[in-house]
């Protein structure tokens, strides 16, 4: 596979401008090259799959991972996932779905369609780093992954409630239910030093 040693090229797909900016930063900090697009259609265009004539082909940068939001207008992340997995050229690219909603049937459906993982938003740096390491490790394991997909049986949900299992990447349930978030977290952060500010002069 042509890529810089330890450097992945990630195609990030999200209709939210804010989320694109954040995911881009997370990926860059994790030493990944990033191409961020705003829709499934643009993603397919970039991958050379949209069926329309594009004057510019894929820019030569091979994509190692597709990280897509689930809920997008036009084409959902699930629909994008399907199109990618249906394409002989692109089906081997791992696809990870992100969503702010933890809807189990939705997660199952994505995993069964071939998604590597499902991440709960807001996505954290630890999620991205773990994902990157998993993809890097797995780059040599394509045969095994293909076998699993072909088996067709519903894939075991890799989405675990606790962080105790480390063998497969698992997305942790973050505190999305803000009612349950302990108020003491505010007290604990008051001890935090001021974040880094630029030194001028």
């Amino acid at each position: 596979m042509e890529k810089m040693a330890n450097e992945l090229h990630v195609l990030a797909v999200d209709d939210s401008h804010v989320d694109r900016k954040v995911i881009e930063r997370l990926l860059k900090i994790s030493s990944c090259k990033v191409t961020a697009v705003e829709s499934g259609r643009r993603a397919l265009q970039y991958l050379g799959l949209d069926g329309e004539k594009t004057s510019v082909g894929i820019d030569g940068l091979k994509v190692n991972l597709i990280l897509t939001d689930y809920s997008m207008p036009g084409m959902t992340g699930y629909e994008l996932l399907k199109k990618i997995k249906e394409s002989s050229a692109l089906s081997k690219i791992p696809v990870v779905i992100m969503s702010s909603e933890k809807i189990l049937p939705r997660i199952d459906r994505c995993l069964e369609e071939g998604a590597e993982e499902f991440l709960l938003k807001p996505v954290k740096l630890s999620d991205v780093k773990r994902l990157r390491d998993f993809i890097l490790r797995g780059e040599g394991d394509n045969e095994e992954t293909e076998k699993k997909i072909k088996e067709g049986s519903s894939r075991k949900r890799k989405f675990h409630e606790d962080s105790s299992t480390q063998s497969m990447p698992s997305s942790l349930v973050t505190g999305h239910d803000i009612q349950s978030k302990p108020e003491s977290s505010a007290a604990s952060v008051s001890q935090q030093p001021l974040p880094k500010q630029p030194k001028i002069g």
């Binding site: 209709d15 939210s16 401008h17 804010v18 989320d19 900016k21 954040v22 930063r25 997370l26 900090i29 809920s71 702010s100 938003k121 807001p122 954290k124 740096l125 505190g175 803000i178 978030k181 108020e183 977290s185 505010a186 007290a187 952060v189 008051s190 935090q192 030093p193 001021l194 974040p195 880094k196 500010q197 630029p198 030194k199 001028i200 002069g201």
Partner: protein, 143 residues
């Protein structure tokens, strides 16, 4: 050695957390800052406010006259809530959730009232964050 402005900035920041305006996601964004990207959080917050202005306006328009499309209202609020969540805007997000509950219940008065709350929290947070970022920037000039 901390100067007065830095202390004030730290105080503003602590208040924002203590009063529940922002949550841990804000800290996660702060952790993404470095010497090369020292203003990342402020950039994301600015982007949030410019980007969401249009969405807020559209929700406002959709609430003006019937017939009310609760699905559309819910979808718009879902988008807005997502971005609020991405910057750690805790109180704003909570209002968004309430709004969505009223959408599900097809309660337009509930939606309208809660939307006032959304806008209020949205604007209050903007003012407070602007003050904090300004103070932090001024404080850094003396380091």
């Amino acid at each position: 050695m901390e100067n007065q402005k830095q202390r004030q900035a730290a105080y503003l920041r602590r208040s924002l957390f203590d009063q529940g305006y922002i949550d841990d996601q804000f800290i996660h964004l702060e952790e993404l800052q470095d010497d090369a990207n020292p203003n990342f959080v402020e950039e994301v917050v600015n982007l949030f406010y410019t980007d969401s202005a249009r969405l807020i306006r559209n929700i406002e328009l959709a609430l003006e006259n019937g017939p009310y499309d609760f699905t559309r209202l819910d979808n718009m609020m879902y988008q807005f809530k997502g971005s609020s969540s991405s910057i750690g805007a805790r109180r704003v997000k909570r209002q968004c959730c309430q709004f969505q509950e009223y959408c599900n219940a097809k309660n337009i008065e509930g939606c309208k009232n809660t939307f006032q709350g959304v806008k209020q929290e949205y604007n209050t947070l903007k003012t407070k964050l602007e003050a904090y970022f300004q103070m932090a920037r001024e404080g850094s000039h003396y380091v």
